[in-house]
Homo-oligomer: 369 residues x 2
Amino acid sequence: MSGSVGVVKTQFFTLKEEFFFESGRVLSSVTVAYETYGKLNEARDNAILVCHALTGNAHAAGFNREDDQRPGWWDSMIGPGKAFDTDKYFVISSNFLGSCFGTTGPSSVDPQTKKRYGLKFPVVTVRDMVKLQKKLIDHLGIEVLHSVAGGSMGGMQALEWGATFPYATKSIIPIAASAAVTPMAIAFNAIAKFAIMKDPNWRGGDYYDDVAPLDGLAIARMAGHITYMSDASFHSKFGRRYATFEGIYDFKGLFEVENYLRYNGYKFTEFYDPNTYLYVLKAMDIFELAYGRNGLKDALRLITSKALFITFTSDFLFPPYQTEELVTLMKEIGNEPRWENIESDYGHDAFLLEFEAQTEIIKNFLSEV
Amino acid sequence: MSGSVGVVKTQFFTLKEEFFFESGRVLSSVTVAYETYGKLNEARDNAILVCHALTGNAHAAGFNREDDQRPGWWDSMIGPGKAFDTDKYFVISSNFLGSCFGTTGPSSVDPQTKKRYGLKFPVVTVRDMVKLQKKLIDHLGIEVLHSVAGGSMGGMQALEWGATFPYATKSIIPIAASAAVTPMAIAFNAIAKFAIMKDPNWRGGDYYDDVAPLDGLAIARMAGHITYMSDASFHSKFGRRYATFEGIYDFKGLFEVENYLRYNGYKFTEFYDPNTYLYVLKAMDIFELAYGRNGLKDALRLITSKALFITFTSDFLFPPYQTEELVTLMKEIGNEPRWENIESDYGHDAFLLEFEAQTEIIKNFLSEV
């Protein structure tokens, strides 16, 4: 039996000290937005951190208001009786550093200038995100997490947790992720970047007092959407259906798939900041678990936590062969990671949709940790 | 032994009558640019038509001037001793209807208004292209072609030739093509379309007296480039190499793959017309061999010419399973098509690069026709 965590308030924690970025840059003030579900036990050892993907936020489960139409982004996985069972675990979800949903990022106001940072914001890395999450965990009085889990860029964070803070988490669950994106993923992100930066309204990132580069951001999101799906899911969701009332020989007539991309592209511009999108794409592109660690094998030696990897057969953004390589390397150095490659046509989106298959695997793993 | 066809002049043929488009629209004057290689024999039965892809032109082989740096787009396949052996065959290559390299298209001047057509140009279909090619063949005094061949959208034309003019060609060779693009291909093309049409310089297609939408066209081309490659070719060509002198923590630092896409995207804007790109994408999207023919099976019944299909294992723009479906259907109705699925990591681009493997297959097929 599974239910909802109900109405949840987003909370905020502001660091008491300055924050040092991997790049060497420093910010004097950083705030992190987070939510928690379930109860921390007396031993303070039942906490699980879930990490969100590229454009996600701290609101992973339940509702922020009684009249909310839609629950948090991983509501099917977090709650009483669910994969991350809030009857057993204290689940923490924070908005990552550099995002635009409450945690300090490029669209935040710089307290020194009273203007938004824009491109003055330091380049953010997955390591920076993980460092800030650790500070939040410290603040919450938790020494060792039961697990760190996430899908896509959330999975990259989970993996990075394993290498940076192996003593602070008993396990990691990277889902639909890898130790570095493929060059093809970088190419997709390049389309998105150029679309935003070539929109005349972008103005070098200084658009906050005027019209934002909405067309560029919409096109960027459309390019992203392609990578979240698969050849098979495009077939089953849209096929070659032409939009009703459009003429095939009309220059502006559209297929349903084009309508869908356009609608979702512009929908995205209603709640996401274009500069932030550039920063999070950059963080995704430059993430390399191996960076500064003498290669991937040595980086993986750092991971002493138990690891469960989940991939999806039709995911071409984070193809399963990447995880297979990781798992093979980890076994060579004596680790015993678990890896489940779930058969799915949903492509990369599967980590948000295939919750039944994931639930069983994750529940079993968490109870064995 | 194989050689070059040498220096070749592009020729032009203007229809004596008006041209009726599949859409029902009519143009009073249509010109087609074409080149020929080799000699038409006395029986006039050794002619092969090659059809170009999305952004190609009539210049398929040899050089247009003595000092040309690069030969035509399929020079590795057309010439003495090559796949399309000009010692044996008379090879014809024409720029398709709606393009911008000599054949009438959106960037041509409307003789009635003395202004460029722009969006007043009728939507062009693959069937329109094939109809115009047939008129060129008639003009050249050829009743029956030995073959019609092409890759990508050129392969769609070859396939359409088989269904529209089965009595006028002994064989067809569709390469890296299909009877209709996948919804995922339409999605990629949508990114390209929106990028051009949202560029403020596009001005509803009326940009010919001013700056053209170059940024939009460059981004459109970048999106196309992704579909021409494969996960494997991105790995081998670029890997995750960061461009030298760029800093990983610099906001504007680029990976080599990003540099490449940008360079080629803007290079493309030096010779291709943005409106034309919109028209040819549309032609690619709306092509359906089955359209108006009572479904695919009945459409395939029309094809009485011998057929050789070639696909490439890593091509995700025209995945081999599409051709497998065609071949299976054709066998069900008593046709005996040949199909070769060439092992290649080059993705869709393989039809331009894997010339050795293709040469043997095509030579054998042509000699058996």
